[in-house]
Amino acid sequence: MTAPDPMREGTPQLCLSVQNITKRFPGVLALDNVSLEIAPGEVHALLGENGAGKSTLLKILSGAETSDAGTITFGGRILPPERPLDRQARGIATIYQEFSLLPELSIAENVFLGREPLQFGFVQWRRMFRETSRILERLGITINPRTPVARLSIAEQQMVEIARALSMRSDLIVMDEPTAALGSREVKRLHAIVNDLRRQNIAVLYITHRLEEVPLLCDRFSVLRDGRLVGTGPIGGTETDDLVRMMVGRDVEFERQGGRAVAGSTVLEARGLRTRLSSRGGSVSLKNVSIEIRSGEVLGIAGLVGAGRTELARTLFGADVLHDGELLVDGKKTRLRSPRDAIRRGIFLVPEDRKQQALFLTQSTCRNLTLPSLKRLLRMWWFVDERAEERLLDEYRGKLNIRMATGRQLISSLSGGNQQKVVLSRLMACRPKVLILDEPTRGVDVGAKAEIHQILVDLARRGVAVVVISSELAEVMAISDRVITMREGCITGELNALEATEETLMSRMAIETIT
């Protein structure tokens, strides 16, 4: 199977055949009877919106999840459920969007991690470095294999991931949004490598959100929507517009609430924001972003992962360092050095990662809610008035319909939706002028989602400037009065919510604008 004759006549034997895979998670049918076929040397695009089931399929292929029904045939054999390592040994390599590299180790150590060539129980370093060099050469890159991965650019790290897949002599390489974090020059190099893999008869399952690269690179495509396969076929003759339609073609889940606002004055304005790549996380920098945030309206910011949405939110909040450009609060030029500065001016942020950035998991629900309002809950000058705390909790518990037994309950024991309502209450109690929400309904069930949407719209009606960042287009369209699309750290469009459709948004988010 390693090197089948590329000149074989007739229909080539399939590399991978997925038949009728179904996977159910509590409350969701993640994959519904999905079938997929990939021939050796074929580059197959797997497309779909966030939550369409792409990642689940990928996990089932890599062995991280097992399917409830259906079969996977690989290299002519039906695969049993097995662990990721066994799948790798069979020749299915997966390159996840978030790399699994160890930054402190060298390239060679990462490539051969767990499979180091041994002799008498000792690592054969020279052989390891030699083989790594050979693979890197094959990829057309000249980096010393002794270089620690931490010193490589994102694109180079991607190459290391590919080198690892090659070192395992894989027949199928699954790539999850490999170009999400790459610049256009690096994308070209990656495409060259994928083409090279094709020539070596290695099959590639290529997951991407960047539709413009699909016709350039891929042979065939499959589109998933809501866990179902809605289209598959050869790329030739298919327009990107058709792909977009297949990806989003469904009813809007939520009732549209936005588009009706009479926007007030501009409370926060950004002009020409630029940031630098920060050392800790973040793969995009803002490039000349200017926006106006007005009181009384919900501004939606749509963009794919890595478009710079979170970076924009954090910059507006003073949590990330601004490199160039200016911020105006109520028309006055202001520098925000820290979140405290922003909060003092009435700007608040609901961060993207609830557990890591918003909740105090070892603390009670009540303490989580009252922390920023303690100044207003004092008695005898210095002491926290616990009764006033409880009153505040009860007020928001009623207003936002937070379901919990008592305020003394640990926040970690609440459901995602209720946790998010506590986070919202906490900021609402501070009477924000501008409220920025990064993925406000991530990990929140459908019922609570609708409730949170209603809360946000109500806030805007009462004069708060609400900014909602979301990867869910349906959500953005449901609550926004105005929508801004972002891509690669730039703003690519601004639409009135009533004009916005998933197609118009998706094309602005995903297709390279010709400049």
Partner: protein, 338 residues
């Protein structure tokens, strides 16, 4: 919701017992230990011995109250023993004036103790402030900062005392270590006041809430507008000040400010806090547990002496019991989360 109700119906008594164990596990352990030592020697619970134990406990207990704040923010302070010695030495120098008469007893001013106490506290406070700034501004981990501080302040003590002790204080000074107030040794009274104040600040003030918040999730605290640097600096200031106070009490008790005072204190102090149930990862714990932890260590040391266990064996036993006590506590806690 349903699983929670099921849990309750499974056995409210069993659940209650577990909750009780979780909350009071260490206290029960302490009581068992006391019963054991008493059964070995009934002098153990004589009033004199109890005061003896508690006076010993008070010196490092005062620091342990401050250390609770530090550990709640997920920090650590290894320098407390050295800060104690340096602060006490500074206080002694102020109280005794010129170093020529450093071995003579008595002094010409009765208010020497006040100057000494104020100096010791101030010196400790400044030392803690430096540690706090180094961790927050220079971003050096507190473990390293205070590891450095540990040798710096010890060295400074040796320089200041020229390698030796400063001893011989007047009665009003020694009263703070050996005197009694309402029939209770003064250090115990001081410890009680410090512990109660420490508890009130931690439990009932916005600052206390912020200490928990910063220790539990520093990034989240920053994003809701807590001045995390100021909170962290403050906890090192608190533990420094209390180390200074403990230094003053110890010098009063020994009637001598020793260059070697407080050596290995950091271990006893940290053990008190950890035995008391405060998590080294921050965000969980409190002063009540720390007081129990400090007393537990005092009881162990004293009990082993009374049982005539050799000094070498004492160290082994104390180490083992500390680990067992925390294991017992963890065991009790892990049962609830299931």
């Amino acid at each position: 919701m349903t699983t929670e109700q099921e849990h309750r119906s499974v056995g409210s008594w069993g659940r209650g017992a577990v909750a009780f164990l979780e909350r009071f596990g260490i206290l029960i352990f302490l009581v068992l230990l006391i019963v054991f030592f008493y059964s070995q020697n009934n002098r153990f619970l004589s009033q004199r011995n109890i005061f003896n134990i508690l006076t010993e406990v008070s010196i490092y207990g005062v620091i342990a109250v401050g250390m609770t704040y530090v550990i709640l923010t997920a920090g650590i302070d290894l320098s407390v023993g050295s800060v104690l010695a340096f602060a006490a030495m500074c206080g002694a120098v102020i109280a005794k004036g010129a170093s020529e008469d450093r071995f003579s007893s008595g002094s010409n001013v009765d208010t020497g103790w006040a100057a000494a106490m104020a100096t010791a506290c101030m010196v400790g406070l400044v030392a803690g402030w430096i540690h706090g700034l180094a961790t927050t501004k220079l971003k050096v981990p507190p473990f390293v900062v205070t590891l450095g501080g540990m040798t710096v302040w010890r060295g400074a003590t040796l320089v200041l005392g020229k390698g030796g002790p400063i001893s011989g204080f007047d009665d009003s000074y020694r009263m703070w270590g050996k005197g009694e107030l309402w029939g209770v040794p003064v250090p115990i009274v001081v410890f009680a006041i410090v512990a109660i104040l420490g508890h009130i600040v931690l439990r009932y003030t916005p600052f206390g809430r912020k200490v928990y918040a910063v220790g539990c999730n520093r990034e989240a605290a920053r994003l809701v507008g807590v001045n995390t640097d100021r909170v962290i600096t403050s906890v090192y200031v608190i533990v420094g000040l209390l180390s200074g106070l403990a230094g003053f009490l110890l010098s009063a008790r020994l009637s001598s400010a020793e260059a070697v005072a407080g050596e290995m204190f950091e271990l006893r102090v940290i053990a008190s806090v950890v035995i008391g149930g405060t998590s080294l990862f921050g965000g969980i714990g409190g002063i009540g547990g720390t007081v129990v932890g400090a007393i537990l260590i005092g009881v162990l040391i004293n009990g082993l002496v009374i049982m005539n266990v050799g000094a070498y064996y004492q160290q082994i036993i104390i180490g083992v019991i500390i680990v067992l006590a925390v294991a017992f506590d963890t065991f009790a806690k892990s049962h609830r989360s299931r």
